[in-house]
Amino acid sequence: MRRASQLWAALVKETLGLVRDKEALLMLIVMPAVFVLIMSLALQDTFRQNIPRPMRVMFLAGPGVSTERLLAALRHEHSLTVSARITRDDRAERARVRTLVREGHAALAVVLAARPGSSRPRTAILYANPALPAQMRALGISLVRRAFARVASNRLASIVRRFAPHGPGVRAAPLRLVVAKGGLDGAPTPTSAQQNAPAWALLAMFFLTVPLSVAVIKERQQGIITRLRALPVPSWVLLAGKVLPYFLINSVQLLMVLGEAMYVLPLLGGDALTIGHAPLALVVVAASANLAAIGYGLLLATLVQSQEQATSFGAVSVLIMAAIGGILVPKMVMPAAMQEFSAISPMSWGLDGFQAIFVRGDGLTGVLPDTLRLLGFGAACLLVAAVRFHRELRPQ
């Protein structure tokens, strides 16, 4: 009974303190709401890829007539920049080309299997970079298809001219294009809103580190902590009192941002956010990201010594996490090595979790790994913060 009443008091005072902190509210709620709108609209076309830049295509084939024709047809496409490698021994080259595409050095690769002497249709395999936005990928594939079609129609024309006995078209085998599935097949990519809404919501969540640690420092500086330490109230009650209000404000913020991206963004000419069909998974990912953010905030609060440290170190560390984690810069525009590195940022786990639900349509099982990472991180931070806070409150 006593503990419940104490917990209530701790909750109320933190909530009132937070709700009356205009700067904190500005940062935690208004900032993401504004950013989501601006950034979703600003990056709309980058994600739609309406104006394609020349796409790099690698072309690997053995020497021969078909190769030359195909290469010419590919080079004919203005939106493609072709770099060709013509070699008889293409075994080692194939692996290299696939790696180059996977790592993003080229958007596409066309590999023409060398099968000399066969009269059956020769198969060309098209590989696409997995990180390529869906629209761009589709465009690339259709351009390559067009080149193939051009070769085929030329061949048809030469069959019609079958009386020219040494015409090259007769000797060339028919061509077939297969788009590679599996490992190199690109996953669907997020829309602008699917990237920006969860990204800025996550950034704002983690930004609570600043007001949270400033509040803790102020309690310490104003001597309030002395009074608290003299009262018969355990440290966990005071800590719990800090967790809940921030959890609530983060949840409100996320709901607002998602709602805004779903219903306000289309009014402004943007693409509405689609959030998949797994509300439970969404709640689970949101709650774990929330806890991770609060854990980090509390940890920092128990580590820093002054308000200046709290604001500068809090903000800088969160921005670095965001930059690494694909929040400030979408992961799909990062080079492959950077994309792998981004996995160390808790914000990247959160973003991956949200996008698994939004983009891939995943459910609970799909978001489990990211959820566990977030919860583990949050729990570890909370534990250290709780120990440090307890040490600070007990007799020194």
């Binding site: 009443s5 008091a9 104003q222 309030i224 608290l228 007799p395």
Partner: protein
């Protein structure tokens, strides 16, 4: 301030008023030397609100103890003034009493209970008003009182009643709904004190609760504290306003450099300094010469100069005064005034702790 009326338990002040030299000489011959009151004897254990024995305390990474071998008992219902220059260790001692700081060695019992025995029950016994303001600036007075009330374990009707009492005590009923950050310094101080009283603990520990408060509020606070004390509360009160301590407290403890250098009834403490001190006022141009001469007078143990004042410590001022005045007359130096005994607590305090600045020691 001659003949200042005094109320309460500290009404008797065996000190002499300022008067001219001739009168004083006559009086010196006729007046009996006032007998010092015996220092209060330590009461039996059941009567003790606070029992501190052999206490040492040191801050982390500090080179020396901030509290050294302090033994202090406070009986239930006492109103103890804890005095000491800046850095003497008052806040440190109170921190250990309130279980904020762990003693390096020694024992502390409050109402016979030690912190280790029952931490929550121990904390329930004590209300601390910290030296620095301990309020949430973004919350209103009422919200602050409610928060700390609940955190102290109050709830329901009792909480409401105590919050109403706290607002009245602080005189903030009309401002109860305004944020504390909009209050004046004095209003915040009053609320700081009221917050401490909320759970109604038997022992109140007040670390400089009246800093920056106007005389009206101070008077009101003192009235309230006296009433609480009459109702049985034990109050430990630190302040640098010695006149306020003199009016309020019936017992005094003096800390200096982490050591307890005096404890006892206010009257007894003052009496101790009535007996051996003479203060003379000179023309500033002659004070040094006078000091040089007076150092040679038999029975004068110490001469301190604070121009134009000169303070002598003697074995028996009434016996030595004629010789002192005769000596001065001999070299044609006339004191402007002469006083025997400690005028007030401030003088007693300075006599005990010296006049050197203590900060940074």
């Amino acid at each position: 301030m001659p003949g200042r009326p005094r109320g309460g338990p500290c009404g008797l002040l065996p000190s002499l008023a300022w008067c001219n030299t001739a009168t004083l000489l006559n009086m010196a011959a006729s007046l009996p030397r006032p007998a010092p009151e015996p220092l209060a004897r330590p009461p039996v254990e059941a009567d003790l609100a606070v029992d501190i024995q052999g206490l040492f305390g040191r801050y982390r990474r500090a080179e020396r103890d901030s509290i050294e071998d302090v033994s202090l008992t406070v009986r239930k219902g006492a109103l103890l003034g804890l005095l000491g220059p800046n850095g003497a260790g008052k806040t440190t001692l109170l921190s250990m009493l309130c279980a904020l700081m762990r003693p390096r060695s020694g024992t502390i019992a409050v109402h016979g209970l030690s912190f280790a025995e029952a931490p929550d029950a121990y904390k329930d016994l004590i209300g601390l008003a910290p030296q620095s303001l301990a309020l949430y600036p973004r919350l209103t007075a009422r919200e602050n009182l409610e928060t700390f009330g609940r955190l102290s374990g109050l709830s329901g009707a009792r909480l409401r009643a105590r919050v109403a009492f706290g607002l009245e005590f602080a005189g903030l009923q009309d401002l109860a709904h305004r944020r504390v950050e909009t209050y004046s310094g004095g209003q915040q101080r009053r609320l700081n004190l009221a917050t401490t009283l909320l759970p109604d603990p038997p022992v109140l520990v007040l670390d400089e609760p009246t800093v920056g408060i106007d005389p009206q509020s101070r008077h009101a606070i003192h009235e309230n504290l006296r009433a609480l004390n009459r109702a049985g509360k034990t109050i430990i009160y630190t302040s640098h306003y010695l006149d306020e301590v003199e009016q309020l407290c019936d017992e005094i403890a003096v800390l200096d450099n982490g050591r307890l250098i005096a404890q006892g009834a206010l009257g007894a403490l003052l009496a101790r300094f009535t007996g051996n001190r003479i203060e003379l006022r000179f023309d500033p141009r002659t004070v040094e010469a006078a000091a040089d001469i007076l150092r040679t007078v038999a029975g004068v143990e110490d001469v301190a100069v604070q121009s134009p004042l000169l303070t002598l410590v003697t074995d028996d001022p009434y016996r030595r005064l004629p010789a002192i005045l005769k000596m001065l007359a001999h070299v044609h130096i006339r004191p402007l005034s002469v006083a025997v005994g400690a005028r007030d607590l401030e003088q007693a305090f300075l006599a005990l702790t010296g006049t050197q600045l203590r900060d940074g020691s």
